[in-house]
Amino acid sequence: MRMITGFLSPTSGSARINNYDVSEKPVEARTLLGYLPENAPSYGDMTVEEFLSFAAAMRGFRGKTARHRISETLDKCFLTSVRNQPIETLSKGYRQRTCFAQAILHDPPALILDEPTEGLDPNQKFVVRNMIRDMAKQKAVIFSTHILEEVEAICTRAIIISKGSIVADSAPAELKQQGSLDEVFRRLTTTADVGGVAQ
């Protein structure tokens, strides 16, 4: 996933986002992409709103459009009540959503989410999953997770990656015909990441 975002360069193969190769046209490709890195990093000294203004400016939004997008995204991610709080004073769930907000602010056609529900309590997980499901109606969403129920609940396509290579790639329902997802997963690999695609 880091290679799709252009943060790491691939040793072999290539990735394209709307026909922009991520190694050759990285800036154009990233314009079309929203990315939530693992552990949802953000600048702790900024308030939620300052952080989103920064993200908006980095995406080239100015003035009224920027303000409109920020308030819309704050609403969408249930962050309006903490908009003026420094991010470092917020709980993990809020910080996660702040970084998530940054990823969807520019309404990108493609979203990459690295373990978006990691470390969240059940309520927060529920909120984030619903947001992903909503997004998936209009966007391509790729996310990684270690929680297999999540794959079943949200994804239309599941890819199991073990030690850097794909060991399974099909709809979760098809995988389930071979047994429960847990069993399939364990059979294919002992330690691996699961990628899910929701469409």
């Binding site: 990093p41 980095m58 995406r59 080239g60």
Partner: protein, 250 residues
Amino acid sequence: MEESHNELPVCTILKREWRAYFNSPVAYVFIVIFLALAGFFTFNVGRFYEAGQASLDRSFFWHPWIYLILIPAVSMRLWAEERRTGTLELLLTFPVTTAQAIAGKFIAAWLFILLALVLTFPVVLTAFYLGSPDPGPIIAGYIGSALLAGAYLAVGMFTSAITRNQVISFILSAVIGLFLLLAGYPPVTDFLYGVAPSWVVETVAGFSFSTHFEQMQRGIIDLRDIVYFASVMGFMLLATHVTLNNRRTK
């Protein structure tokens, strides 16, 4: 989707960095310490009043030494901090090039140090109040000091990019800075003349901050000195670029 305007990310990063300095005590501590040290060295150690000379030599003489300690303290967090907290991944996956990110951070830090430098203006006022100093060396000295600060900063930026540990970054850039400073310092060059052929000594001294900075303190703005400082900055920023683009490890 709206069209993105891509000439602006440098400004956006610059503004964010600048705000980060003033959101934390770093900015205030730096400016206060810089001014306190500059004042102390100029007036007490440098015996500004007793010298009976209306010039800023005694002030500029200490700048390389003050920068040696203070600039690594500013530069150490530039990349190391972003690496540690993971925001580097965020920053570099925005639609910006690595060069734009480097430029934004470098200019922000440089402007910040220049602000501290500009705030030493009372020393200039004192000199003009007490006598009639030649403005040429003062202007050239300030330009030289600004370039010198930029060169230290570029070194610090590179050492910050190669490690996620800020202490290591600080020590490395202070050591490289010390080497570049001492290579042309008269006691050291005098010693070297005794043990090495003079062309060796002159080559080594040619790489030194102090050789080039001294020229400017005397009021001589030589294109070669400007080219020297610009190439130190260019080289170090290029090294930073290569380092950032070669990140393999998580």
